[in-house]
Amino acid sequence: MLRVAVVRFPGSNCDWDAYHAVERAGAEARFVWHRDTDLQQADVVILPGGFSYGDYLRSGAIARFSPVMQSVQHHAAAGGAVLGVCNGFQILCEAHLLPGALVRNDRLTFVSRPVWTRVERVDTFCTSAYSRGAEVRLPVAHGDGCYVADPDTLRLLEAEGRVVLRYIRGENPNGSVADIAGVSNAAGTVVGFMPHPERAVDPATGSEAGAGFFRSIAAWLPGGAARSTT
């Protein structure tokens, strides 16, 4: 069974949601404390949402130096899959595992509501269950979600099809450049986005729209293509 490590930093608060979403999709979830360096042979590492280290200095800036992040760097360098959600996305950018940065929302307010997004890259470990262009309504909850990158980086991301998730026109909740909600590395093995699919996997909380991200993960074959999902 595919194994997923959910990293817990001091201030993580979507760790249980991610754990639940993984298990519900049929994969095995394990928590890994940020001081540990053993990822327990995980195939996929999830950096969950929250406010690691109180967002001190910049969101994600301190978590990047947690001992576990050395292991995450090695895991990613070896082609292992890493997904960062919200604060996890901020950490991946601060750790230079993904390009760009997330700054204060353009209207300065914390936004917490569902927004419509479009899945634009589907050849990754966490998006294969969607068809390209699928429109998915996902919760967002963040104060620092405005994605920025220099023009050369943006051109590269677009040219290489590395924008994984994009806010549908008019739905952009934070001023992100080009309506970008999430990006990947070139290989598609490291993915980060601001919306919270783990909060939309269970009819009990009103939506299952995000379950496909975790079905993708559960069906993923490390080192190969995605299994056909059932």
């Binding site: 200095l57 760009g100 940065a101 700054v103 204060r104 929302n105 300065l108 920025v148 990158a149």
Partner: protein
């Protein structure tokens, strides 16, 4: 020798600074006409043991590049006080 390092981090020019805009608007509302181009950043001060001022500055510059400022979004300046 212990040096006092003063570091100033501001949003990079050209990057939208909604905090700066909000403060600029508030200054206008208070009647301070003519105030513009407000940027809100942060100041960091620290004591640093180093053999000389040049070494202190080089070390502080590395701190800024690696942690205290995000090179994607922020510029920094630093001064070393002997």
């Amino acid at each position: 020798m212990t040096y006092r390092i003063h570091i100033r981090v501001v949003p990079r020019d050209g990057l939208l600074d909604p905090q700066g805009q909000a403060v600029e608007h508030a200054l206008g509302a208070l009647g301070f006409t003519g105030a513009g181009s407000v940027r809100v950043g942060r100041a960091i001060e620290l004591a640093l043991d180093a053999p000389n001022a040049g070494a202190a500055e080089a070390s502080a510059r590395k701190m800024c590049e690696q942690l205290l400022a995000n090179p994607v979004t922020e510029d920094f300046t630093l001064t070393v006080e002997g």
